[in-house]
Point group: C2
Chain length 403, copies 2
């Protein structure tokens, strides 16, 4: 009977410093008010001398900065408060989707320092050419980081498809990509050199963006549904992204809702995408090829064809979502991508299907709401995932040559 | 932006001992051959003196035992090997299901030391009476543990339903249980006193049993499907049970496969259970109320009605399972409960639906197989979950008064 899967090692001195650097940084990041060094020592159980050494290293590494003391009662000189530094590392987030490219820079405090979106139909564009356009966005963001004296910590790229651990896009059906080796095509970019490039599914990264943007009061258990030409899902459980065995979880668009229904691009039949994907909804509303904003306008003036198309799509979406909740037991459904502006019409039928089909719904209500972030949620989530890595492993950042 | 959800504390001396006790025990449990104290020191990076102190404590606590040395080359007296003790703590596993009760004792080495199954229809039995029958099984198992001088480490009970964190069975639709407070009804049993009683979903615990019984060479990512009157699923990812936000994951039986199809006990329509539950299959085969063995016999003689009923059920099961794999990205489907003896007829159509509907199936094949454990898998998994707790937290076991 094997006990524990990961290789285990004893706790030693070096890893203790790593552990405590992360502990101090996490404590300061989560504190409701900027804590003093003494307050950090009191809460973490570390000595004041240890905390001071660690804090000095984190300030030198531009991960922390000191702010004016908040007034306090009691005698003595008030102590400086500690906050995450906005002038240090930033994450570069990128997204290639079916009808846009996006880029952004996010700093440790979560502030967006740069944002660019290019709207265009990427379907006719070969992958190498699309990535050349991404390279331009990288150059622009790199120049912006230099201009503001920000340090690029790493880059993450979101794509609407299945990505291997090595960053190869195995299949992005709606972009028409197959086996596209993104690191080979982009990794040589001078802005990225030696700083790390990860590639991930766009719904996963958008879910991370939503997690970072949402309130700490939320339960941290939700499915983020990215409605675009395809339908992806990012599953967040206990504040962590759930990736599945090989990182290929969340293909909600190919969950069957009518087993012998419409044929799908994937080779299956009756996939959700054929009933609730962007093109299916626009087609049903008689707006094939139109922007989603046109559908919103039609729904706002209660156009019966548009409203029926939205109700049909929402019914199919609700059936699939009810299955997800029965399986995964999440308490919140976040409607993202084009579903966000359509949420006023989609959410009520989705809620009705959940109420009808989810075993626990009677005593454990499920929230269905629009996403907090807009169209570039995945790029923001990608940048945030880089920032998170720095916050989780500050020792690695501090040790980086030529930081 | 909150960083990390759990409260964090500094690494200190006391937790270092806890950590190292668990480290040593895990190393010995996973070693292919009984390692010596010196070998444990070499692999863990701890000093020989520290390892000897920890090992002595673990031997005194009856978690480890020494065995004769395996012959070795080199000079000097050969060292004793260390193995998990079979004569120390045991877990008591229990199960209440629709048509049987089961109990077993499992020791640290995974050996089953006691096993009892009572076949009966529990549906007409009120919950308190059913639990009184369970109490008899507990007394019997407790007497057996005493007779063999085994130490009861704890008890886990499996039920086919939704269980709260406090052990209350919120809903077990096929048993007809609602809000049954199992700890209140069973917790006073003298055999259990002070030793802990957990209550969990039977598919979850059966999945744990399957995980413990399966080879270390397996990927540790599977969905265990418990086909009984209801259909539950236990989801194992990276060798861990995935419980969902509130512990209510895995309600596969209520995933819709024909959205406007047959009405279900749950209030929904077209739930998988109505097409692939035990009663649906037996009904389709013209064997309503018969034992599943009769259906197996009919299928073995290629009875066309039985074979069609199995193919229909398997088709519905395959549709739901394809959705699960698209969502969760598991590489193995384990057919448990009554599905295990029916696997020769169910597995091929399930594989066909997966091949047709799962986006990654073309390059990433999915295994569909019968469960390794028999009908009392959940009771075995329940006992194993108790044993696992002891192995994961040996310091807690060593500190237990009157152990």
């Amino acid at each position: 009977m094997p006990v524990g899967a990961a290789a285990a090692t004893a706790v030693r001195q070096a890893s203790l410093r790593e552990h405590n650097l992360a502990l101090v940084l996490r404590h300061i990041a989560n504190a409701p008010h900027p804590p003093s060094r003494a307050a950090v020592a009191a809460t973490t159980g570390l000595t004041r001398a240890t905390v001071s050494t660690l804090v000095d290293d984190l300030i030198t590494g531009r991960l922390l900065t000191e702010v004016d003391p908040t007034p306090r009662s009691g005698a003595g000189r008030p102590a400086l408060g500690l906050v995450l530094a906005g002038h240090g590392p930033v994450g570069l987030g990128l997204e290639v989707n079916v009808d846009y490219l996006a880029a952004c820079l996010v700093d440790l405090t979560g502030t967006v320092r740069h944002r660019a979106v290019r709207r265009m139909d990427l379907r006719p564009v070969p992958p190498a050419d699309a990535l050349a356009l991404v390279a331009d966005l990288i150059s622009e963001a790199g120049a912006e980081a230099d201009r503001r004296d920000l340090l690029l910590a790493g880059t993450a790229l979101a794509v609407p498809g299945l990505v291997t651990a090595d960053g190869v896009v195995r299949l992005a059906p709606n972009l028409g990509w197959r086996d596209v080796d993104v690191p080979a095509l982009l990794g040589g970019h001078p802005v990225l050199a030696g700083r790390g490039l990860t590639v991930d599914n766009e719904a996963n990264l958008a879910a991370l963006g939503e997690l970072h943007a949402s309130s700490a009061a939320d339960s941290g258990n939700f499915i983020y549904i990215s409605g675009e030409v395809g339908i992806g899902a990012g599953i967040v459980l206990h504040n962590s992204l759930f990736r599945g065995a090989r990182g290929w979880s969340g293909e909600l668009g190919h969950v069957p809702v009518h087993p012998e229904g419409r044929p799908c691009r994937c080779g299956g039949r009756g996939c959700l995408e054929q009933y609730a994907g962007q093109e299916a909804i626009l087609g049903g509303a008689g707006l094939t090829g139109a922007p989603v904003a046109r559908l919103v306008e039609a729904a706002e003036r209660a156009d019966p064809v548009a409203c029926q198309a939205l109700a049909d799509a929402a019914g199919a979406l609700g059936v699939a979502v009810a299955g997800v909740i029965n399986l995964l037991d999440v308490d919140t459904v976040v409607l993202g991508g084009v579903y966000a502006p359509l949420a006023p019409w989609l959410a009520p039928p989705v809620r009705a299907e959940i109420g009808r089909r989810v075993l626990t719904a009677a005593w454990s209500p499920v929230t269905v709401r629009a996403a907090l972030l807009g169209g570039d949620a995945a790029a923001l989530g990608a940048a945030g995932s880089v920032v998170r890595t720095v916050l989780d492993q500050p020792a690695r950042w501090l040790a980086r040559p030529g930081r």
